[in-house]
């Protein structure tokens, strides 16, 4: 499989979801982690672009539109590194199941669309721990766009890939940008060993499939995982 990442030598497990905006991956990950927790397992969560250490820099850079493809890529890698070193690795050592909403693959897809070379970006994230499993929520572009463009607030500058100059129209730029990212995900899916979930299906069906795969992969190793509550019958020492 992927030779780019660091093998997970810890007790904990790492579950990753990937997909374009509007693929429904965050909803699915939330349902999955709730279920794992209900099984008494210690579950932690880490989201793309959420490190407190880097937050102010990213926010300012975005507001002032200061980013180039290189600095955009590097600041997200910095954010990722901070979560890796300060959060994900310690939790994996402790034996937790870490659920990550987006992972290095997001950078492989997005940054390459921004013109960064695939070789450079794969090297950049070489410090990342290899996920125990990575789910790719594969969805037709129109379905994802419908979910995003329909409701919620306006699409932001970088989210729409406006920095690429694909179109002056935000929605059109978003459409083109997401389409290109989708292509990148599709082309790496096999190489990265993604578990592909048909994200056009119902939420319930997708969740069922996700849980089936998690049990299949984790099942034999579940006793390594840290428990949030003491198993029944265990006495307090």
């Amino acid at each position: 499989m992927v030779p780019y990442l660091v093998p997970n030598r810890y007790r904990g497990k790492l579950i990753v979801v990937e997909g374009i905006d509007g693929s429904g991956k965050s909803t699915q990950l939330a349902l999955l982690s709730q279920w794992l927790r209900s099984q008494g397992l210690a579950v932690a969560f880490s989201e793309w672009n959420s490190s407190p250490l880097v937050k102010q820099t990213t926010r300012r850079g975005k507001r002032k539109e200061m980013f180039t493809p290189a600095t955009f890529s590097l600041i997200h890698a910095t954010d990722f590194a901070d979560r890796m070193e300060g959060y994900i690795v310690p939790l994996l050592k402790a034996g937790a199941i870490v659920c990550a909403d987006r992972y290095a693959y997001t950078a492989y897809a997005r940054d390459v669309v921004r013109g960064v070379s695939p070789r450079w970006i794969r090297n950049l994230y070489r410090f990342a721990i290899q996920p125990t499993m990575a789910f790719y929520f594969r969805v037709p572009l129109d379905v994802a766009l419908g979910r995003i463009l329909g409701g919620r607030e306006a699409i932001k500058y970088y989210e729409a890939g406006m920095d690429l100059g694909l179109s002056r129209n935000v929605e059109e730029s978003f459409r083109l940008f997401q389409g290109r990212i989708l292509k990148e995900y599709d082309s790496m899916a096999q190489e990265m060993g993604f578990h592909i979930i048909d994200a056009g299906g119902s939420i319930e069906e997708q969740q069922k499939e996700m849980r089936r795969i998690v049990m299949e992969v984790l099942g034999p190793n579940l006793d390594q995982v840290l428990r949030a509550t003491l198993p029944p019958g265990a006495s307090h020492g």
Binding site: V54, G61, T68
Partner: protein
């Protein structure tokens, strides 16, 4: 004044979307460990170059508009892992390269930079990070026209720290990786590693080694001579 310098090129993949043609200026790097006296030399060189009639941009690590403040905040906090630090500095470097250094070179400036990608790599190597990872990561850096490596032994640095700032700095002592029981011991071991890492880069990246254990004005004379030679060599 028609100069024929070899065009500036990156070590690896170029920065995406950045035009590297028509860079008229000269890129001169001053490298060396902490407290070796780099900033004094940059100051002296800048005013000399300006007196001779060159427009000079001086820049240095963690001074970018994008990441400078963020790095300072991260250093003031208590969690700043080695990989995170390397990447934050790389962000800072890329921002300065794209928004300061390359535009200045295009405008025909002499860019005098206090540290470059090499210090970033040396610090990361001193913290045990992978050389191949760093080389590929920093591949977008332009190979400078001249890199002056101010070389000294750790024993030369210690008195400068004591007489200068009067105390050891947490990060310059590598206290995040804690190589000794106190700041002094950690400083000695950490800076020795940084120096070793820079020494190992000297051949590959064409450093011109300047003995920095000598008095500042003697060092300055040597550096000025190297720069003069460089200008003369490439002038028609």
């Amino acid at each position: 004044m028609a100069n024929h310098w070899p065009p500036l090129a990156p070590y690896g993949d170029p920065l995406p979307g950045v035009d590297l043609t028509g860079l008229q200026g000269k890129l001169i790097v001053i490298e060396g460990p902490d407290s070796v006296g780099r900033s004094t030399q940059v100051m002296l060189l800048k005013s000399w170059l300006e007196q001779v009639g060159h427009a000079v941009l001086d820049t240095g690590m963690a001074r970018s508009a994008l990441a400078g403040r963020g790095i300072q905040r991260a250093k003031d906090g208590n969690t700043f892992g080695p990989v995170t630090m390397t990447l934050f500095y790389a962000t800072d470097f890329a921002d300065r390269l794209e928004n300061e250094i390359i535009p200045a070179l295009r405008a025909g400036f002499v860019v005098l930079t206090d540290r470059y990608i090499f210090s970033l790599m040396a610090r990361a190597l001193a913290r045990g990070e992978s050389r191949t990872w760093l080389e590929e990561l920093g591949g977008f850096a332009l190979a400078p026209h001249l890199t002056l490596y101010m070389r000294a032994e750790v024993n030369d640095l210690v008195p400068r720290v004591v007489l200068g700032r009067g105390r050891f700095d947490f990060w310059e002592s590598g206290m995040d990786v804690r190589l000794g029981p106190d700041m002094h011991d950690s400083f000695v071991r950490y800076q020795a590693r940084v120096i070793t890492a820079l020494d190992r880069m000297a051949g590959k990246y064409n450093f011109e080694i300047i003995d920095a254990a000598r008095p500042p004005m003697v060092i300055f004379r040597d550096m000025r001579r190297s720069i003069t030679r460089l200008f003369r060599k490439t002038k028609t």
